[in-house]
């Protein structure tokens, strides 16, 4: 029984290669542009004309990526007054101060919990949602539109909405739970040290599902129907089909969705900032809101330290993504 399916999965190893083209397209332009530029240069075809065509894009990259990055590094090496006035060079003091911050451990733990929980839950739930969305049923178009809504709405508005839903005194969630006699006294979803993180994770997952589900819908649509037909003829159960055909063929989509979600969720500012508005200190901040508060809201109020924290953030997410890519491709080799 298992053997034919195993063989089937092996056989579709071929189609797996072209499959990534569709879902990985968001990241494609960067790689694509680089490749073209390199080829033109090496083949010696009028470099100046190529440059002319590339100029707008290059200017954009210089202005939007390179220049801010240079400024960021410069700021991280400078000593700033609380007013924002640059007072001179700081050497590596800003980096040292960030590392010496009492709250750093808490903030890093929060970040790991936040990113891992939101990304894992998002991927799991989106797999289900995507399966649902690819089925034919009456009103599918409406459901598909409805799923997009949380994605289309501004994060700040969504976060603000959730802080109203969660509110202790006026929150709709508490009102419903009280009416249904599930609870006797309201639950302090965003004031309680125990509940704030789960509450934030729910919002994080809620806004991440649309994008992820649509990546998976694209991935599912790219799986050829004859593979399923072959599985059905071989008598595979629904679970076996899903586990041994759908999931392996969806791997590229899952890889892309995971990496992009890691970046989005790690960089997510509005949800954490808004839901924590009335919470003092850094107790529930991630490295992103920590960076912001260092510059403007905390007793440090130091642009330099904040810039240093910003550089740490870039390194952190780079390393996380590299590690994830390494681990996942290593598994691919093994299987």
């Amino acid at each position: 029984m298992t053997q034919p399916i195993g063989a089937g999965a092996g056989a579709v190893g071929g189609p797996a290669a072209p499959a990534p083209a569709a879902p990985s397209s968001p990241a494609e332009p960067v790689g694509g542009r680089r490749r073209t530029a390199r080829r033109r240069h090496t083949s010696g075809v009028s470099g100046w004309i190529a440059l002319l065509w590339l100029a707008p894009a290059l200017a954009l990259v210089l202005g939007v990526v390179v220049w801010p990055a240079v400024e960021l590094v410069r700021a991280s090496l400078s000593r700033y007054s609380i007013t924002g006035l640059r007072k001179g060079d700081a050497g590596l003091d800003n980096f040292r101060n960030v590392l010496a911050n009492d709250s750093l451990t808490t903030v890093l733990t929060n970040t790991v919990v936040w990113v891992v929980a939101v990304v894992a839950l998002t991927i799991l739930i989106s797999l289900g949602v995507a399966q649902f969305l690819t089925k034919e049923f009456w009103g599918r178009r409406i459901v598909r539109w409805a799923v997009i809504v949380p994605w289309a709405a501004s994060l700040v508005i969504t976060a603000r909405l959730f802080s109203l839903i969660y509110s202790y005194y006026y929150g709709t969630l508490n009102a419903v739970l009280l009416k249904l006699h599930v609870i006797d006294t309201p639950i302090d979803f965003i004031g309680s040290d125990r509940l704030i993180m789960p509450s934030m994770i729910v919002v994080g997952v809620f806004v991440s599902i649309p994008f992820t589900a649509y990546v998976f819908v694209a991935g599912l649509n790219a799986i050829p129907g004859d593979v399923y037909e072959a599985a059905r003829i071989d008598g595979a159960s629904a679970w076996q089909t899903w586990r041994q055909i759908t999931l392996p063929l969806l791997r590229p989509a899952i890889l892309v969705a995971t990496v992009l979600n890691m970046i989005y969720v790690f960089n997510s500012f509005p949800i954490i900032y808004t839901l924590n508005e009335s919470n003092p200190g850094f107790g529930h901040d991630t490295t992103i809101t920590f960076m912001y508060k260092l510059a403007f809201k905390s007793a440090e109020k130091d642009v330099g330290q904040s810039a240093a924290a910003g550089l740490f953030n870039v390194c952190l997410i780079l390393v996380a993504v590299l590690v994830y890519l390494r681990v996942s491709s290593w598994r691919e080799e093994e299987s």
Partner: protein, 422 residues
């Protein structure tokens, strides 16, 4: 196959870096407008004002009208940028960082800017007649190192707001005069049941220093005494412990360490709260809603028969030293402190005057009587000390933790950081 995967990996890494850097860098660059208009003969004819938004309805309307009047009177142009209180720290910091400050900045702090030698002193930009009209308390709070840099734009004073309906229901005849009476009254209101709350206590990060200030002033405490920080003085520890006890006895709303001022005001405006420390803009909201029958009383004191103390706040209009803008800036202040301008603004926003002539003008308003009498003797936070600008932030981020933690430890830590220079 492996090169393809490699490339994909590289693309993802590049995208990651771009995304990360993009966000990290967005703190810089935004919000800085072109400030210095080209002046003839080195004199600026266009100056820029960055003002805080006190209210959606009135702030912009006032400054637009003011810019008109300024143009008519001086021929100079005044560019007005209104920024919300949430963003103004970030915006002003970015402007200074980019070496592009406005000519006039409206903020709740000035001393750090004065310390960095960025500001004009009153000797340079304030006419004598204007300066002599300012209330002493505000001249004092605007003075750093012997010179005045922080020109007050408006002021407020706090007082105890109480819900007359709830007081009647609970059988309380008059507002409490001592802390013991206060606690007993809060208990009576709580005992009414139906979710009623004795006292709305906001120690969340929005303005923890304000709430704590008015309580500690009424226990003989202060932030600084005789030029030395006294944050962890016995009176202050006693005060914070008292507030903690209120929370422990459930006489306050849920989670007071994580309640912002606005949330406490909203609760009071919903009619469920017996008492809250408020100021005139809250009265404005309540009068408009007509939902809560409220009274305003002086703060209760710790000691029997003590003199009620009030906490005053003023915000500042400071002027940045920029080449050639001194005359235009001076003209700005001359116009702003004209009676019909400054008092018109203060009236529209529902705050209190900063000038002697203003007190005279407002004295006919019965609703403001409680505040006006106390205003000249109001206690302020030590805004004249640049260290306070950092201590204030530390207080905002830490005071609320005393509700679940140890008040003395929290104050000790704040004292330590204040002594270390913030």
């Amino acid at each position: 196959m492996s090169t393809r995967r490699h490339l994909r990996g590289a693309a993802l890494v590049a995208a990651t870096a771009a995304a990360g850097l993009g966000l990290a860098a967005c703190g810089g660059g935004q919000g800085a407008g072109t400030a210095d208009g080209g002046g003839s003969g080195g004199k600026a004819t266009t100056i820029k004002l960055v003002a805080a938004e006190y209210s959606k309805d009135h702030t912009k309307a006032f400054w637009d009208q003011f810019a008109q009047a300024y143009k008519t009177k001086t021929g100079n142009t005044l560019q007005v940028q209104i920024v919300s209180w949430d963003d103004i720290d970030q915006q002003s910091s970015t402007m200074v960082q980019n070496n592009n400050p406005p000519d006039i900045l409206n903020l709740n702090a000035y001393a750090s800017y004065a310390k960095d030698d960025l500001l004009y002193s009153s000797d340079e930009v304030l006419s004598d007649s204007v300066k002599s009209d300012l209330l002493e308390a505000f001249v004092k709070s605007g003075t750093y190192n012997g010179k005045m840099y922080g020109m007050p734009d408006l002021s407020s004073a706090r007082a105890m707001f109480y819900n007359k309906t709830l007081f009647k229901e609970a059988g309380i005849a008059e507002p409490p005069k001592t802390w013991a009476e206060f606690e007993a009254d809060a208990q009576k209101i709580k005992d009414l049941g139906k979710g009623n709350i004795g006292y709305g206590l906001p120690l969340g990060p929005e303005e923890a220093q304000g709430e704590f200030s008015i309580w500690l002033f009424n226990n003989g405490g202060d932030w600084k005494k005789d030029g030395k920080w006294s944050i962890n003085s016995p009176e202050n520890v006693e005060t914070l412990t008292f507030l903690k006890t209120l929370a422990a006895k459930k006489l306050t709303q849920n989670n007071p360490g994580k309640t912002n001022r606005q949330d406490a005001f909203d609760l009071f405006a919903s009619g469920k709260v017996g008492m809250v420390v408020g100021f005139s803009p809250l009265a404005g909201t309540l009068d408009k809603d007509k939902k809560v029958d409220y009274g305003v009383a002086p703060m209760p004191t710790k000691a029997e028969g003590g003199e009620p103390q009030t906490f005053g706040v003023t915000d500042y209009l400071m002027a940045f030293k920029k080449k050639g803008n001194q005359d235009a800036v001076k003209a700005f202040y001359d116009l702003y402190y004209q009676k019909d301008q400054v008092n018109q603004f203060i009236k529209a926003e529902g705050f209190l005057p900063v000038t002697k002539s203003g007190i005279q003008e407002f004295s006919s308003d019965a609703a403001l009587k409680t505040y006006l009498e106390t205003l000249p003797n109001a206690h302020l936070t030590p805004t004249d000390d640049p260290t306070w600008d950092k201590v204030k932030l530390a207080v905002q981020q830490n005071l609320g933790t005393a509700i679940t933690g140890d008040p003395k430890a929290v104050l000790d830590k704040l004292q330590q950081s204040a002594e270390a220079g913030g």
